[in-house]
Protein backbone atom coordinates (compact mmCIF):
# COMPACT_ATOMS: atom_id res chain seq x y z
CA UNK A 1 0.00 0.00 0.00
CA UNK A 2 1.15 3.56 -0.62
CA UNK A 3 0.61 6.67 1.53
CA UNK A 4 -3.11 7.06 0.87
CA UNK A 5 -3.85 3.37 1.27
CA UNK A 6 -3.88 2.61 -2.45
CA UNK A 7 -1.44 0.39 -4.34
CA UNK A 8 2.00 1.89 -5.17
CA UNK A 9 1.24 1.34 -8.85
CA UNK A 10 -1.13 4.31 -8.76
CA UNK A 11 1.70 6.56 -7.52
CA UNK A 12 4.07 5.36 -10.25
CA UNK A 13 1.36 5.73 -12.88
CA UNK A 14 0.73 9.33 -11.81
CA UNK A 15 4.44 10.16 -12.01
CA UNK A 16 4.62 8.56 -15.47
CA UNK A 17 1.70 10.64 -16.73
CA UNK A 18 3.22 13.80 -15.23
CA UNK A 19 6.41 13.16 -17.25
CA UNK A 20 4.77 12.36 -20.59
CA UNK A 21 5.99 8.79 -20.67
CA UNK A 22 3.98 7.44 -23.59
CA UNK A 23 5.37 3.99 -24.28
CA UNK A 24 5.93 1.23 -21.76
CA UNK A 25 7.73 -1.86 -23.04
CA UNK A 26 7.35 -4.99 -20.98
CA UNK A 27 7.77 -8.64 -20.38
CA UNK A 28 5.19 -8.79 -17.59
CA UNK A 29 5.76 -9.79 -13.99
CA UNK A 30 3.27 -10.60 -11.25
CA UNK A 31 4.45 -7.54 -9.33
CA UNK A 32 3.63 -5.32 -12.31
CA UNK A 33 0.05 -6.53 -12.79
CA UNK A 34 -1.72 -3.47 -11.37
CA UNK A 35 0.58 -0.99 -13.13
CA UNK A 36 0.27 -2.73 -16.50
CA UNK A 37 -3.52 -2.72 -16.10
CA UNK A 38 -3.46 1.04 -15.47
CA UNK A 39 -1.27 1.62 -18.54
CA UNK A 40 -3.38 -0.68 -20.71
CA UNK A 41 -6.47 1.32 -19.72
CA UNK A 42 -4.94 4.71 -20.57
CA UNK A 43 -5.63 5.78 -24.15
CA UNK A 44 -2.74 8.23 -24.23
CA UNK A 45 -0.24 5.49 -23.43
CA UNK A 46 1.05 2.53 -25.37
CA UNK A 47 1.93 -0.88 -23.97
CA UNK A 48 4.51 -2.76 -26.07
CA UNK A 49 4.67 -6.43 -25.14
CA UNK A 50 8.08 -7.93 -25.88
CA UNK A 51 9.44 -11.42 -26.39
CA UNK A 52 12.58 -10.57 -24.36
CA UNK A 53 13.45 -7.51 -22.28
CA UNK A 54 16.43 -6.42 -24.40
CA UNK A 55 14.05 -5.55 -27.24
CA UNK A 56 12.59 -2.96 -24.91
CA UNK A 57 15.96 -1.21 -24.63
CA UNK A 58 15.94 -0.85 -28.44
CA UNK A 59 12.29 0.24 -28.65
CA UNK A 60 12.66 2.79 -25.83
CA UNK A 61 15.84 4.19 -27.39
CA UNK A 62 14.09 4.41 -30.77
CA UNK A 63 11.18 6.26 -29.16
CA UNK A 64 13.54 8.82 -27.64
CA UNK A 65 15.40 9.25 -30.95
CA UNK A 66 11.98 9.99 -32.43
CA UNK A 67 11.06 12.49 -29.72
CA UNK A 68 8.91 10.44 -27.33
CA UNK A 69 9.55 9.23 -23.81
CA UNK A 70 9.45 5.52 -23.09
CA UNK A 71 10.50 3.05 -20.40
CA UNK A 72 10.83 -0.67 -19.78
CA UNK A 73 9.07 -2.59 -16.99
CA UNK A 74 10.35 -6.06 -16.14
CA UNK A 75 11.08 -8.70 -13.52
CA UNK A 76 14.62 -8.83 -12.11
CA UNK A 77 15.40 -11.98 -14.13
CA UNK A 78 14.89 -9.88 -17.28
CA UNK A 79 17.73 -7.56 -16.29
CA UNK A 80 20.16 -10.31 -17.26
CA UNK A 81 18.75 -10.24 -20.78
CA UNK A 82 19.42 -6.50 -21.10
CA UNK A 83 23.11 -6.16 -20.28
CA UNK A 84 24.66 -5.98 -23.76
CA UNK A 85 21.65 -4.04 -25.05
CA UNK A 86 22.27 -1.30 -22.48
CA UNK A 87 25.27 -0.28 -24.56
CA UNK A 88 22.83 1.17 -27.11
CA UNK A 89 21.32 4.04 -25.06
CA UNK A 90 24.73 4.63 -23.47
CA UNK A 91 26.37 5.03 -26.90
CA UNK A 92 23.59 7.33 -28.15
CA UNK A 93 23.56 9.19 -24.82
CA UNK A 94 19.87 8.43 -24.71
CA UNK A 95 17.89 8.17 -21.49
CA UNK A 96 16.93 4.67 -20.40
CA UNK A 97 14.42 4.21 -17.60
CA UNK A 98 13.71 0.78 -16.15
CA UNK A 99 11.22 -0.31 -13.52
CA UNK A 100 12.28 -3.67 -12.11
CA UNK A 101 10.22 -5.80 -9.74
CA UNK A 102 12.53 -7.98 -7.67
CA UNK A 103 12.52 -11.74 -7.28
CA UNK A 104 15.00 -13.98 -5.48
CA UNK A 105 15.55 -11.37 -2.82
CA UNK A 106 13.11 -11.52 0.11
CA UNK A 107 11.38 -14.77 1.04
CA UNK A 108 11.69 -16.33 -2.41
CA UNK A 109 10.15 -19.80 -2.88
CA UNK A 110 11.76 -20.57 -6.25
CA UNK A 111 15.53 -21.23 -6.11
CA UNK A 112 15.84 -20.58 -9.88
CA UNK A 113 15.15 -16.89 -9.23
CA UNK A 114 17.87 -16.37 -6.65
CA UNK A 115 20.97 -16.06 -8.87
CA UNK A 116 19.67 -13.19 -11.02
CA UNK A 117 17.79 -11.61 -8.12
CA UNK A 118 21.01 -11.31 -6.15
CA UNK A 119 22.96 -10.16 -9.23
CA UNK A 120 20.45 -7.57 -10.49
CA UNK A 121 21.98 -4.49 -8.87
CA UNK A 122 25.69 -5.35 -9.38
CA UNK A 123 25.00 -6.34 -12.99
CA UNK A 124 23.21 -3.07 -13.70
CA UNK A 125 25.89 -1.04 -11.95
CA UNK A 126 28.61 -2.86 -13.88
CA UNK A 127 27.18 -1.39 -17.10
CA UNK A 128 26.72 2.08 -15.65
CA UNK A 129 23.03 2.02 -14.72
CA UNK A 130 22.15 4.09 -11.66
CA UNK A 131 20.08 1.93 -9.29
CA UNK A 132 17.28 3.16 -7.04
CA UNK A 133 16.25 0.34 -4.71
CA UNK A 134 13.06 0.87 -2.73
CA UNK A 135 11.69 -1.33 0.06
CA UNK A 136 8.71 0.70 1.29
CA UNK A 137 5.52 0.83 -0.74
CA UNK A 138 4.86 4.46 0.16
CA UNK A 139 8.26 5.45 -1.29
CA UNK A 140 7.96 3.76 -4.70
CA UNK A 141 6.26 6.73 -6.39
CA UNK A 142 8.81 9.34 -5.31
CA UNK A 143 11.70 6.97 -6.02
CA UNK A 144 10.37 6.38 -9.51
CA UNK A 145 9.99 10.12 -10.02
CA UNK A 146 13.59 10.75 -8.93
CA UNK A 147 14.95 8.03 -11.22
CA UNK A 148 12.86 9.22 -14.16
CA UNK A 149 14.03 12.80 -13.73
CA UNK A 150 17.70 11.90 -13.62
CA UNK A 151 17.30 9.57 -16.63
CA UNK A 152 15.50 12.08 -18.86
CA UNK A 153 17.23 15.26 -17.66
CA UNK A 154 20.76 13.87 -17.73
CA UNK A 155 20.23 11.30 -20.50
CA UNK A 156 21.54 8.36 -18.51
CA UNK A 157 20.26 4.89 -17.62
CA UNK A 158 18.41 4.50 -14.33
CA UNK A 159 16.61 1.55 -12.76
CA UNK A 160 14.07 1.52 -9.95
CA UNK A 161 14.33 -1.79 -8.09
CA UNK A 162 11.02 -2.48 -6.34
CA UNK A 163 11.90 -4.81 -3.46
CA UNK A 164 10.32 -8.20 -3.10
CA UNK A 165 9.52 -7.15 0.46
CA UNK A 166 6.90 -4.81 -1.05
CA UNK A 167 5.57 -7.20 -3.64
CA UNK A 168 5.60 -10.31 -1.48
CA UNK A 169 6.98 -13.69 -2.44
CA UNK A 170 4.94 -15.71 -4.90
CA UNK A 171 3.30 -18.50 -2.93
CA UNK A 172 3.09 -21.30 -5.52
CA UNK A 173 0.10 -22.64 -3.57
CA UNK A 174 2.25 -23.29 -0.49
CA UNK A 175 1.25 -22.40 3.06
Amino acid sequence: MSKNGTHWSGDVFREMRARDIITVCTVPDGGLTQLLDLIGGERKMRLVTLTTEEEGIGVATGCWLGGERAMIAMQSSGVGNCINALGLPTAFRAPCLMLVTMRGQWGEFNPWQVLMGQATRPALEAVGVRCYPVDKAEEVGETFAAAADIAFNSRVSAAVLVGQRIIGAKGFGQK
Partner: protein, 200 residues
Protein backbone atom coordinates in the same frame (compact mmCIF):
# COMPACT_ATOMS: atom_id res chain seq x y z
CA UNK B 1 26.50 -32.89 -41.92
CA UNK B 2 25.53 -29.30 -42.49
CA UNK B 3 22.09 -28.13 -43.54
CA UNK B 4 21.43 -28.05 -47.26
CA UNK B 5 22.65 -24.86 -48.95
CA UNK B 6 20.37 -22.83 -51.17
CA UNK B 7 20.51 -23.98 -54.78
CA UNK B 8 21.03 -20.63 -56.50
CA UNK B 9 24.09 -18.58 -55.46
CA UNK B 10 23.33 -15.09 -54.19
CA UNK B 11 23.99 -12.62 -57.00
CA UNK B 12 23.15 -9.13 -55.80
CA UNK B 13 26.13 -6.79 -55.25
CA UNK B 14 25.18 -5.03 -52.00
CA UNK B 15 26.76 -1.60 -52.46
CA UNK B 16 25.12 -0.60 -55.81
CA UNK B 17 21.91 -2.28 -54.68
CA UNK B 18 21.64 -0.32 -51.43
CA UNK B 19 22.65 2.88 -53.24
CA UNK B 20 19.89 2.31 -55.80
CA UNK B 21 17.32 1.71 -53.06
CA UNK B 22 18.33 4.77 -51.04
CA UNK B 23 18.00 7.03 -54.09
CA UNK B 24 14.28 6.42 -53.78
CA UNK B 25 13.87 6.76 -50.01
CA UNK B 26 12.40 10.27 -50.15
CA UNK B 27 12.13 11.45 -46.52
CA UNK B 28 12.27 7.98 -44.99
CA UNK B 29 14.35 7.55 -41.85
CA UNK B 30 16.82 4.68 -42.08
CA UNK B 31 17.78 2.58 -39.04
CA UNK B 32 20.97 0.84 -40.14
CA UNK B 33 21.99 -2.53 -38.76
CA UNK B 34 25.43 -2.85 -37.23
CA UNK B 35 28.38 -3.63 -39.48
CA UNK B 36 28.03 -3.96 -43.23
CA UNK B 37 24.51 -2.45 -43.59
CA UNK B 38 25.82 0.67 -41.83
CA UNK B 39 28.84 0.76 -44.15
CA UNK B 40 26.55 0.27 -47.20
CA UNK B 41 24.27 3.18 -46.27
CA UNK B 42 27.20 5.49 -45.55
CA UNK B 43 28.91 4.48 -48.81
CA UNK B 44 25.74 5.48 -50.69
CA UNK B 45 26.03 9.05 -49.34
CA UNK B 46 25.95 10.33 -45.77
CA UNK B 47 22.70 11.70 -44.33
CA UNK B 48 21.61 12.85 -40.87
CA UNK B 49 18.51 10.74 -41.45
CA UNK B 50 20.61 7.57 -41.34
CA UNK B 51 20.87 6.17 -37.83
CA UNK B 52 24.18 4.32 -37.98
CA UNK B 53 24.96 1.45 -35.64
CA UNK B 54 28.25 0.03 -34.42
CA UNK B 55 26.90 -2.35 -31.80
CA UNK B 56 23.96 -3.75 -29.85
CA UNK B 57 23.48 -6.68 -32.20
CA UNK B 58 19.82 -7.53 -32.63
CA UNK B 59 18.54 -4.06 -31.77
CA UNK B 60 18.30 -2.39 -35.20
CA UNK B 61 14.74 -3.63 -35.72
CA UNK B 62 13.45 -2.84 -32.19
CA UNK B 63 15.05 0.62 -32.48
CA UNK B 64 13.31 1.14 -35.82
CA UNK B 65 10.04 0.07 -34.21
CA UNK B 66 10.46 2.66 -31.44
CA UNK B 67 11.19 5.32 -34.05
CA UNK B 68 8.17 4.34 -36.11
CA UNK B 69 5.90 4.54 -33.04
CA UNK B 70 7.27 7.97 -32.07
CA UNK B 71 7.23 9.35 -35.64
CA UNK B 72 3.97 8.03 -37.12
CA UNK B 73 4.07 10.56 -39.98
CA UNK B 74 7.50 9.48 -41.17
CA UNK B 75 8.39 6.29 -42.99
CA UNK B 76 10.95 4.27 -41.05
CA UNK B 77 12.99 1.55 -42.73
CA UNK B 78 15.35 -0.80 -40.91
CA UNK B 79 18.15 -2.10 -43.15
CA UNK B 80 20.00 -4.86 -41.39
CA UNK B 81 21.92 -8.09 -41.99
CA UNK B 82 20.85 -11.70 -41.62
CA UNK B 83 22.96 -12.26 -38.48
CA UNK B 84 21.45 -9.32 -36.65
CA UNK B 85 17.94 -10.24 -37.80
CA UNK B 86 18.35 -13.80 -36.55
CA UNK B 87 19.54 -12.52 -33.17
CA UNK B 88 16.50 -10.27 -32.85
CA UNK B 89 13.84 -12.49 -34.42
CA UNK B 90 11.41 -11.95 -31.56
CA UNK B 91 11.21 -8.28 -32.47
CA UNK B 92 9.30 -9.31 -35.60
CA UNK B 93 6.58 -10.69 -33.31
CA UNK B 94 6.48 -7.33 -31.53
CA UNK B 95 6.14 -5.56 -34.90
CA UNK B 96 3.40 -7.98 -35.93
CA UNK B 97 1.60 -7.12 -32.70
CA UNK B 98 2.03 -3.32 -32.87
CA UNK B 99 1.51 -3.27 -36.67
CA UNK B 100 2.85 0.24 -37.41
CA UNK B 101 1.84 1.22 -40.93
CA UNK B 102 4.98 3.33 -41.41
CA UNK B 103 7.57 0.61 -40.76
CA UNK B 104 9.52 -1.56 -43.20
CA UNK B 105 12.34 -4.03 -42.56
CA UNK B 106 14.91 -5.08 -45.15
CA UNK B 107 17.35 -7.90 -44.45
CA UNK B 108 20.50 -7.91 -46.58
CA UNK B 109 21.03 -11.65 -46.51
CA UNK B 110 24.42 -13.03 -47.56
CA UNK B 111 23.88 -16.09 -45.37
CA UNK B 112 27.15 -15.34 -43.58
CA UNK B 113 28.52 -13.66 -40.48
CA UNK B 114 30.44 -11.49 -42.94
CA UNK B 115 31.86 -9.02 -40.44
CA UNK B 116 33.56 -11.69 -38.33
CA UNK B 117 35.12 -13.81 -41.06
CA UNK B 118 32.31 -15.05 -43.30
CA UNK B 119 31.31 -17.92 -41.10
CA UNK B 120 28.21 -19.75 -42.26
CA UNK B 121 24.94 -18.22 -41.08
CA UNK B 122 21.64 -19.89 -40.28
CA UNK B 123 19.82 -18.42 -43.29
CA UNK B 124 22.10 -20.49 -45.55
CA UNK B 125 20.11 -23.58 -44.65
CA UNK B 126 16.41 -24.20 -44.33
CA UNK B 127 15.43 -20.97 -42.59
CA UNK B 128 12.96 -18.80 -44.53
CA UNK B 129 12.95 -15.36 -42.89
CA UNK B 130 9.97 -14.12 -44.92
CA UNK B 131 7.94 -17.10 -43.74
CA UNK B 132 8.99 -16.32 -40.16
CA UNK B 133 7.80 -12.72 -40.59
CA UNK B 134 4.47 -13.90 -42.00
CA UNK B 135 4.15 -16.31 -39.11
CA UNK B 136 4.47 -13.34 -36.74
CA UNK B 137 1.67 -11.50 -38.53
CA UNK B 138 3.64 -9.34 -40.96
CA UNK B 139 1.54 -10.41 -43.93
CA UNK B 140 3.26 -8.40 -46.66
CA UNK B 141 6.69 -9.85 -47.49
CA UNK B 142 9.03 -9.88 -50.49
CA UNK B 143 12.17 -11.83 -51.44
CA UNK B 144 14.51 -10.28 -54.00
CA UNK B 145 17.29 -12.20 -55.75
CA UNK B 146 18.25 -9.83 -58.59
CA UNK B 147 19.79 -6.36 -58.71
CA UNK B 148 17.21 -5.43 -61.37
CA UNK B 149 14.43 -5.68 -58.78
CA UNK B 150 15.75 -2.74 -56.75
CA UNK B 151 13.06 -0.39 -58.08
CA UNK B 152 10.28 -2.79 -57.17
CA UNK B 153 11.78 -3.35 -53.74
CA UNK B 154 12.14 0.41 -53.18
CA UNK B 155 8.43 0.90 -53.86
CA UNK B 156 7.68 -1.87 -51.40
CA UNK B 157 9.96 -0.55 -48.66
CA UNK B 158 9.19 3.13 -48.96
CA UNK B 159 5.53 3.15 -50.07
CA UNK B 160 3.63 -0.07 -49.37
CA UNK B 161 1.34 0.02 -46.30
CA UNK B 162 3.35 -1.38 -43.42
CA UNK B 163 4.48 -3.22 -41.63
CA UNK B 164 6.32 -4.90 -44.51
CA UNK B 165 9.30 -7.24 -44.49
CA UNK B 166 11.77 -7.98 -47.29
CA UNK B 167 14.82 -10.15 -47.80
CA UNK B 168 17.44 -9.40 -50.46
CA UNK B 169 19.75 -12.31 -51.19
CA UNK B 170 23.09 -10.52 -51.59
CA UNK B 171 26.46 -11.85 -52.70
CA UNK B 172 29.54 -12.07 -50.50
CA UNK B 173 31.67 -9.25 -51.86
CA UNK B 174 34.91 -7.49 -51.02
CA UNK B 175 33.92 -3.83 -50.65
CA UNK B 176 36.10 -0.86 -49.78
CA UNK B 177 35.85 0.28 -46.17
CA UNK B 178 33.30 3.04 -45.72
CA UNK B 179 33.10 3.94 -42.04
CA UNK B 180 30.74 6.68 -40.84
CA UNK B 181 30.83 8.63 -37.58
CA UNK B 182 31.14 6.18 -34.70
CA UNK B 183 30.36 8.43 -31.75
CA UNK B 184 26.77 7.54 -30.88
CA UNK B 185 26.02 10.85 -29.18
CA UNK B 186 27.04 12.68 -32.39
CA UNK B 187 24.93 10.33 -34.54
CA UNK B 188 21.93 10.75 -32.22
CA UNK B 189 22.35 14.52 -32.05
CA UNK B 190 22.39 15.07 -35.81
CA UNK B 191 19.56 12.56 -36.27
CA UNK B 192 17.36 14.32 -33.70
CA UNK B 193 18.35 17.71 -35.06
CA UNK B 194 17.12 16.63 -38.50
CA UNK B 195 13.76 15.86 -36.84
CA UNK B 196 13.68 19.29 -35.18
CA UNK B 197 14.09 17.76 -31.70
CA UNK B 198 17.44 19.38 -30.91
CA UNK B 199 19.22 22.55 -31.90
CA UNK B 200 22.20 22.22 -34.29
Amino acid sequence: MSAQANVAPNKIARRPFVAELLKQRGTSLIACGLGSPTWDCFAAGDSPEYLYSWGGMGLAVPTALGLALAQPKRRVVAITGDGEMMMGLGSLAVIGDQAPQNLAVLVLDNEKFAETGRQRGLTSGRTDLAAVARGFGIANTMIVTELGKAGELADFLFKAPGPVFAVAKIAVTEDPWALPEKDGATIAHRFRTSLGLEKP
